[in-house]
């Protein structure tokens, strides 16, 4: 995920302090990987340098000085451009799983066991996500669904490969 674009997008709804940006980011997008303060400040100084944000004011309120950032017109154009660009579909060719299956066949190990074990590991992760979905709000459900559909796609590949193991064995280890 582009942290810079995400923070810019958050700023479009109104000026915010660095701390406020981090908190909003973590709440909405960073449940698994919250931002470090360092990441926020280094990103903001890059955006500042590139003219995508500006300092809207400085407050101290008895504590250390805090800059409030606002998005510039160039920043808004940048966010629009980023949102309009589709993400590159990742084809995952030659995945680690495929390599493991081939190596198992080449070395006379059970590729079927390997696939079953992998399926179970995937299912275990799907259980964790399903549980989180069950307890979460709509945002949680959508985030988990995205991950669940990806895991499900892997599982479909595992099934198909499992059904084609004999055929694959003839090709890779004749």
């Amino acid at each position: 995920m582009s942290i810079g674009h995400t923070l810019l997008g958050l700023l479009e709804s109104g000026p915010r302090h660095g701390y406020d940006l981090k908190r909003t980011f973590d709440e909405k997008f960073g449940q698994d990987r919250p931002l470090h303060y360092g990441q926020v400040y280094s990103t903001m100084s890059r955006l500042l340098k590139n003219g995508l944000v500006e300092v809207d004011g400085v407050e101290s309120e008895g504590g250390p000085e805090r800059k409030r950032y606002a998005i510039t017109d160039a920043g808004i154009t940048d966010v629009s451009h980023w949102l309009a660009q589709p993400e590159k579909p990742e084809p995952y060719l030659q995945s680690t799983l495929y390599t493991k299956v081939v190596l198992a066949l080449l070395t006379g190990r059970s590729a079927a066991d390997l696939l079953d074990t992998q399926r179970s590991a995937h299912l275990r992760m799907m259980r964790v996500l399903t549980d989180r979905k069950r307890q979460g709000d709509l945002a949680d459900q959508l985030i988990c669904d995205h991950a669940l559909f990806h895991l499900e796609a892997d599982l479909r590949w595992l099934e198909l490969t499992s059904a084609r193991l004999d055929q694959l064995a003839k090709v890779v280890a004749p």
Partner: protein, 228 residues
């Protein structure tokens, strides 16, 4: 041979149709309140395993123990009585009686066990409320959607206070949103009532509602809990 604390356990089941082995030494167990997903490709023997566990078909050899009693030692009549009193069933579709209203369908297992109509329908409505279909009481199965019908079927499976529910592709005919809701309600209701669920499915998203999964391949069942 029987895992400690298990409610239903099968050991070394074999079943052959003609010359085709459907089960070839399959073992299985489920504890009270546990949801176990039985997965595997088409023709792997998972439905045969479910039917053997439920006492619907008899394996050629092997043992099935339910609450300390061996199923093979029971007469057909005893097995039928056990299915009525202790087991609940949810299938992919076509399980509701079309002539009866939804509440009458849900009350059916209780009526068959001798509960009076009013009391049976009161219990039925409680389960329908739990499954969020209590407003469909007077409708017939033909007048409700697939997702609603399946929730009615789940309510019926639970209404007779079973100890085990056998669910064979319970969401197979539903879209993913309805399927997930059915699974959520089924597993929540079963867990809170300490009912064991044997869930046959080929859908990983459905299996993800289970506590544990068993893979059936070539008639053998592999418990995946300790596979990693």
């Amino acid at each position: 041979m029987i895992p400690e604390g298990s409610l239903l356990a099968a050991h070394d089941l074999r079943k052959t149709y003609g010359s085709t082995p459907a089960l070839d030494g399959a073992s299985f167990s489920v504890h009270p309140g546990e949801v176990v997903a039985v997965m595997g490709p088409s023709g792997s023997g998972k439905s045969t395993l479910l039917h053997c566990l439920a006492g619907i078909i008899t394996p050629d050899s092997g043992t099935i123990t339910y609450a300390g009693r061996e199923l093979s030692a029971m007469s057909d009549a005893e097995r039928s009585a056990l299915r009525r009193s202790d087991f609940g069933f949810v299938f992919q579709f076509g399980q509701l009686v079309p002539e009866l209203t939804c509440v009458e369908n849900v009350a059916l297992p209780l009526r068959l066990n001798g509960v009076r109509r009013r009391a049976a329908e009161r219990t039925a409505l409680e389960w329908m409320e739990r499954l969020e279909v209590d407003d469909l009481g007077t409708k017939r199965p033909g007048e409700v959607s697939g997702g609603q019908g399946q929730r009615v079927a789940v309510a019926r499976a639970l209404a007779g206070s079973p100890k085990v529910i056998f669910a064979d592709e319970p969401t197979g005919a539903l879209d993913s949103l309805n399927g997930e809701r059915v699974m959520q309600l089924l597993t929540e209701a079963a867990r809170s009532a300490n009912v064991a669920v044997v869930l046959v499915t080929h859908e990983a998203r459905v299996a993800a509602y289970s506590d544990r999964d068993v893979t059936v391949r070539d008639g053998r069942a592999r418990d995946m809990e300790h596979a990693v």
